[in-house]
Amino acid sequence: MSTATDDVREDAPPKAPKPTKQQRRAASIADQASGGIKMLLIKIVALGIVDALALFAVFVLISHEQWLVTGVVVAVTALVNWIYFSRRKLPAKYLTPGVIFLVVFQVFVLGYTAYIAFTNYGTGHNGTKEQAVSSLMASSLERVPDSPTYGVTVVERGDELGLLVTDPDGEALVGTNEEPLHEASGAQFDGDVAVSADGWTSLKFADVLARTDEVTALAVPYSDDPNDGAIRTPDGSKGYLYTSTLEYDAEAGTMTDLSTGTVYSDTGVGAFTAEDGTKLLPGWQITVGFDNFVRAITDTRLSGPLVYVTLWTFAFALLSVATTFFLGLFLAIVFNDMRMRGRKYYRTLMILPYAIPSFLSALVWAGMMNQSFGFINQVLLGGADIPWLTDPWLAKVSILLVNLWLGFPYMFLVCMGALQSIPEDIQEAATVDGAKPWAVFRLIKLPLLLVTVAPLLIASFAFNFNNFNTIYMLTDGGPRDANAPIPVGFTDILITMVYKVAFTGQTRDYGLASAYSIIIFIVVAVISIIAFRRTKSLEELN
């Protein structure tokens, strides 16, 4: 019995004296004893599954030579086991699962974003230098005019196609796109041509026909040196040597175009570059320092959009909060009257916009606001031709209107709650003292209300600052700014701009998109620090 009371003390408020070591041990023994055999079993099975998965992951990671990640997985697994087998670490037992996800998918990706912002990662720069070299060589292959004919058989290993090549000396070699030709073991010959080899399945003629595209795309490197060329086959039975019109000089790190004689060298910009500045793409990924940030701010074609997008983002977020809040507050005052009948029905109908997933509502509004076919122009305005979504300024107004529709129910509910929590006797006292109702509202109720809803207004601002769905579904950021080199429009906010730079259009610029992300991070951080300083809402934590 005494152990149990000690146990209670462990979780008591901080003012209670710290339990001694002995008391803690007693407490944990009591805890263990009370857990029951079923709990213990569940715990062991769960940890067993976790460990088994971790073990599997470690094997896969080692086979891919990912040493750093392997180390992290081992360390985390060890930590998890230690926490759950330990008799203490009670808070950690409850926090660990959520924290692991938080660290990987919030904290780590944040750091990773910062890293990408300092690279040239994107279309044409998404691999290592070796990958760029082999891809360049492979993309410029031309058949050697006097190439001997090689007998080939198309073979398969798993999902991977390869070629079994018989060279003019009668030797059987095998290789794939990734793996240069090497001696085939256990080759069987049919006449002069090797037709099968150990570890490979030979494709039948019908299969070769069925997979013509894959077969003709095969280019098996002749040797480790990319300059030796590759064997390709137009028909799956005869192969020829193809060499690249580019020559790679590994020593000098240069690419030479044999047909024109132009020398492309690695000048540190992540691609082979000729003296006149032309680049061979694909290039490779390198760290470019602050280039992306500098580009975003100083390149006039990029900085113009960045400025108006940033201004609009602020305007959009502020106006969205202001309009929804004032409409919501007004409605809350209107409906906060006990004598009014049917308030419940009004409330239920009015909060419907809040209940519908916003991406659907925004798409519906986009249809209704269509200039030539939409409901608003055609029916409500009797055939008007108002460019709701295609005029730069009107599109902004439309967005604010739709966002008002989407957001006022939330503010209405919040203000309703806040108003009802303000004691009625405050108003009575003021009225007795002769205050006019407007004065009571402005000087007493509104300040009290603001104290309680201010944190929610800040949260709402933060939400709208990154309110992707409304913008993307309604106008897709349009109308498009034709002068900008990135696919940005006049109603884009920062987050939709990041998305477009990274994932739409012909070129994807992950580096620039991440740089924009980092700029937004900084803006959001500054705003939240100021906001928290002012509201001091963190003081409630203890």
Binding site: D7, D11, A12, Q32, A33, S34, G36, M39, A57, V60, H64, Q66, L90, P91, Y94, G98, V104, Q106, V109, L110, Y112, V334, F335, M338, M340, T348, L352, P353, A355, I356, S358, F359, L363, V364, G367, G374, F375, Q378, V379, W405, L413, V414, M416, T431, K436, P437, T452, A459, N466, N469, D476, V498, Y499, F503, Y510, S517, I520, F521, S528, E540
Partner: protein, 310 residues
Amino acid sequence: MDASTRAHASVGGPGGGAPLQLPKKPFNFGRWFSATGWRHVVGVVMVVFALFPIVFVVSSSLNPHGTLTGSNALFSKIGLESYVRILTDPQVPFTTWFGNTLIIAGVTAVCTVFLGALAAYSFSRMRFTGRRFGLISIVVVQMFPQLLAVVAIFLLMSAVGDLFPAIGLNTHVGLIMVYLGGALGVNTYLMYGFFNTVPASIDEAAKIDGAGHARIFFTIILRLVAPILAVVALLSFIASVNEFVVASVLLVDTDKQTLAVGLTKLVSNPRYADWSAFSAGAVMAALPVVALFLFLQKYIVGGLTAGAVK
């Protein structure tokens, strides 16, 4: 306007005193209007504003062969053909999208509540070093929404997919895991506040009776905080249904996508789209969420208000 009508409103007597006096006076339209009648006018206007897009989409979903233009004549034709069309069109795997959305949002909601409740319990009931720091970090980290790091998430998941195809790019498990990155967040904070309202003496009594911390958590606390769990589950569910950015980037195949991604692509140009089929899809997609919302309305309003007046 507002001030003067409020003056009338309070002349009748403050607070609850008013209704008692009313029956004694004969009905007077002017007085009724200035006291509550005008409120009904505002109410009707707002209800029309709130409902007309909904009426529009329901009407066009009942239009058998509606383009966007054809949908403008409200309820001119009634038929369920567009529902049949979107459910059976092999080009538009609506049911698959629906199922994907329910699975992803459902699993995310359940796991979010569970992970969040675990954390909220420890923050609320235990005192340990780093507790204050932990609470603040959770709030601060949440300031930076995941969609800002979408490039990094995409690259991370495509790297994971190279090693472990089962949880990498283009998998539902992967997407759910990314969403769970936000499990400890505002939700935990909301739950933490609610956990604090459950008296600690209940825990203590259970401990004296010999219950361990796990048993107290699972069998006692979780039941007492059920309302906030429902609210957080619903908010998380709606958030995942609504989530477009990460889902569109991670889910590559049409068959893997969610409603938000699929339906958006479907009407990327509303002019040429089969608008009534889209509307039918939108109605079906919105119905479960709206039903859930109205069903849990009381809790949601309570939850929001609790947040407001904290």
